[in-house]
């Protein structure tokens, strides 16, 4: 399941925020020369300075420009900030390892049968809701009944749900029950899938239960507004929601009855911190931890902010330049390539890749906390990322050569190249606003292309706001030839949602037989064999570097600073939001003198 994500820090997020761990060894995070940093310098887990005291409280800062929506239900939420709030008081029944694969260490265990099509889950006996009721199989099944319900308006009902036996009938209202889901006993649930797929084991299962005894009487259509979601939600996690100030903050208290044992902290407070003030909030101890620190501010505080430790990991996201190669055929429900598209010539696209210096972009704008991207499956997926592929390097001369060879010459001496047919070539570039760097980066690319003789101009002379940008890209606005976008990918590497021929999110509107074959292969039952799947995806990554429907520009790091007094905190994927392990060594946060 892939979803569109924002271009920049903290913008619209998407699916459950799972990630992988990478390069977590470097303990020493002391400053870099030239103010250039590397993700290698960061650890994902907090270095504990002493023993946790008994109890204590901690403030967790949620960095966002806006307020949080407050749809506090895994089934219903849509914004990333809500997920941050949710993960403290409610958790997935299944835990994952560093490779995003389900483990048997969570609140529930599972077995597969029937050629990996049937899953049988057993929920631990000591797993209870905050109100003392046990978490039952029925509760878990209820989540599926909500998401699959005809009145459901959320965004979770996707292909992995459709893959469940009887789900489509239920969704269409033809059936009152989902035939593929069976409650065996109070703590045992069985789900039957139509097709076995590797995605299922990599986060493809909806592992969040819903307290049915509370939601039972609320019609699905009204759930989003229910008090049980907005005012006094309950979960099964280590902390309970004490009170909510809408849009601003949430106070939690320890759940003494937590199945992994009572948390170390007595209280936890989550509050919204604006990206502009986050540094001061950390320095003064107003917050102990923030979920994501704006990387462009890091160099300014790296030396001075001595009261916190910066944790870091690679984000499962990349920024890219996309080329419009066709249109979406709504009737057929698939993309339609256009051989006459302005950007149809792959040599032109390759030259444009050669022309830009993404390492410099990463270093200059992000001080190394973003760096040149190579393939469309990033290093956040260590098992699948193809690090060997040779991608076009920054080389303006070569770019010019490629263009010359492909017939793009400056025939009328205006300083810009014309098409091989001798027509003016003006490439319209759309990019979205957001953050300080959006504008200079867009301009940088334009300048870089100009250097190799390509006339690229910013669509309407300005950046476009996030929503209207994507609307226009999605609508295949003829004024857009190329665009800069970003994807934040989910836990599964499967690229079908972004580059499949039938994917509406396939914004470049690219397809090829080869690509389609590989994508299908990667999610076939054969690919449950991880080694096979790795092979397929490495091949697909190579194909993308050859065909260049888009080229990735930078990968990025997530930084999460934590006050020195915090122990037991981590941002590693396999930490599984173990908030009950988090403690503090002293009563008050350390501050910068």
């Amino acid at each position: 399941a892939c979803n569109s994500g924002g271009s920049d820090e903290g913008s619209e997020g998407s699916d459950s925020g799972e990630g992988t761990e990478e390069g977590s060894e470097g303990e020493d995070e002391s400053g870099a020369e030239d103010g250039i940093y590397s993700i290698e310098d960061f650890s994902a887990a907090k270095t504990d300075e002493g023993e946790a005291m008994d109890g204590g409280s901690l403030t967790y800062g949620l960095v966002t420009d806006t307020v949080f929506e407050g749809t506090l239900s895994w089934n219903l939420y849509s914004g990333a900030p809500d997920a941050e709030i949710l993960q403290i008081f409610d958790e997935s029944l299944l835990s994952i390892d560093e490779n995003y694969s389900y483990t048997q260490d969570g609140a529930a265990t599972f077995e597969t049968s029937n050629e990996n099509k049937t899953f049988t889950f057993t929920i631990g006996d000591n797993v209870n809701w905050h109100d003392g009721e046990p978490v039952t199989a029925e509760d878990w099944a209820y989540s599926y009944e909500i998401i699959g319900h005809p009145d459901y308006t959320g965004i979770r009902y996707d292909s992995s749900f459709q893959n469940i036996e009887g789900m489509q009938e239920y969704h269409a209202g033809e059936s009152d029950t989902i035939s593929g889901i069976e409650v065996i006993d109070e703590k045992t649930l069985e789900i039957n899938y139509k097709v076995a797929s590797p995605s299922l084991l990599a986060g493809g299962i909806w592992a969040y239960a819903t307290p049915k005894h509370i939601f039972e009487d609320i019609p699905v259509a009204e759930m989003e507004e229910a008090d049980a979601v907005r005012k006094n939600p309950i979960g099964m996690g280590p902390f309970k929601v004490e009170s909510i100030v809408p849009g601003e903050s949430v106070s939690y208290t320890a759940n003494e009855d937590y199945w992994q044992g009572a948390p170390k902290l007595d209280e936890l407070t989550l509050k919204v911190v604006a990206p502009t003030t986050v540094a001061q909030a950390l320095e003064t101890g107003e917050v102990d931890i923030v979920d994501s620190f704006p990387t462009d501010q890091y160099p300014d505080v790296a030396e001075t902010m001595t009261n916190v430790e910066f944790l870091g990991k690679i984000d499962n996201a990349y920024t890219y330049i996309g080329f419009k190669l066709g249109k979406w055929d709504a009737d057929a429900g698939k993309v339609q390539m256009d051989p006459d598209a302005k950007m149809a010539d792959v040599e032109l696209r390759r030259a444009m890749w050669h022309a830009v210096d993404n390492d410099a972009v990463g270093e200059r704008f992000y001080n190394g906390l973003r760096w040149k991207a190579t393939t469309l499956i990033g290093p956040a997926y260590p098992d699948y990322h193809n690090a060997e592929i040779e991608v076009p390097a920054y080389d303006p001369e070569q770019a010019k050569q490629i263009l010359e060879d492909a017939g793009y010459k400056d025939t009328n001496d205006d300083g810009f190249r014309e098409t091989p047919d001798g027509e003016e070539l003006v490439i319209n570039f759309a990019s979205m606003s957001g953050g300080d760097t959006a504008e200079p980066i867009a301009n940088y690319y334009i300048q870089a292309w100009e250097q190799v003789g390509l006339k690229v101009q910013l669509l309407e002379g300005r950046l476009h706001e996030f929503n209207s940008f994507y609307d226009r890209v999605e609508a295949d606005d003829p004024d857009i030839d190329i665009y800069q976008g970003a994807w934040s990918t989910g836990s599964d590497v499967d690229p079908s949602g972004l580059y499949g021929a039938e994917a509406p999110f396939n914004y470049p509107r690219y397809e090829s037989e080869e690509s389609t074959a590989l994508i299908t292969e990667g999610n076939s039952p054969e690919s449950i064999d991880v080694a096979h799947r790795q092979e397929v995806y490495k091949e697909w990554q190579e194909l993308m570097v050859k065909d260049i429907p888009v080229f990735p520009t930078v990968y990025r790091a997530v930084l999460s600073p934590a006050n020195e007094r915090v122990v037991g905190y981590s941002i590693a994927t396999d930490w599984n939001y173990a908030w009950h392990e988090v403690g503090v060594t002293e009563d008050t946060p350390q501050t910068v003198e």
Partner: protein, 320 residues
Amino acid sequence: MWKFTVRRLFITIPQIILLSVLVFLMAQMMPGDALSGLLDPNVDPATIAEQRERLGLNNPWYVQYKDWIAGIMQGDFGQSFRFKMPVTELIGQRMENTIILSVVTLIFTYLIALPLGIISGRYNDSLLDQGISGYTYVGFATPLFIFALVMLWVFGYYLGWLPTSGSVQPGLEPGSFQYYVSKFHHAFLPGLSMALIQVVSTVQYLRSEIIDTKQKDFIITARAKGATERRVYNKHIFRNSLLPIAAFFGWEITLLITGTVFVERIFSYPGMGVLFLESITQRDFSVANTIVLLFGVANILGALLSDIILSIVDPRIRIK
């Protein structure tokens, strides 16, 4: 006075209707409609068309307008596509904050403006007056947002005296005493920042009003009666020059509303102003439109209030 008030009310009604039409037209001009946000892009276009028909989005504009108004009458401003909740409820949460901020600002404004204006007007051209005029002079040229930023930096971060964001300390029981203390505490710095800039016009107005009144003939009459200087000021000059200020009160609302957008943004104060800005950038237009409508109504009522206050305090209008 009653006649005046009633007549004034009658002017208000067409204003509100016109405002609603304007907001409605604005909503029509906005790209997309209520549905483009509500529905999943993956949903069958036929379903969307069906939904459209069902929601009356294909009706002629006046029918839609009528339905919209009918909804508003019942407190239904539509649904926020971003927050997935009724706009009414969403704005309700923010309105409290904005009102608290406005009240705090108003209190500060009058607490600062009245003494300054009175001193400056009474002792005009004295050293004190020159100081105060200097302040209004500088205040006039200082953009609110720069000033607020500096205030935030100095008192919020550098000195750390006051909270720098949010509207209330987390975890307090809503409605409790501490809760309101905390709300006030959070509104203190933004309110003060706004007030310090906004007093400028009031101080200047009060000053010139006092200087003006000082030269009126009836002041000479009062002196000729043997009234002491103090009495002349208290009973005649201040009273007469404060009345227009009282009437200014309603107009102050317009100023406040504009100011809150800036300070709410700067102090990350979750009120209607930031909600508006977010809604616009997130294209949550049902929310944005509702806020425009509400602020417009607030302005209209402010103007009404001003006129009514004026009619109460000024006998020349009262009698008419």
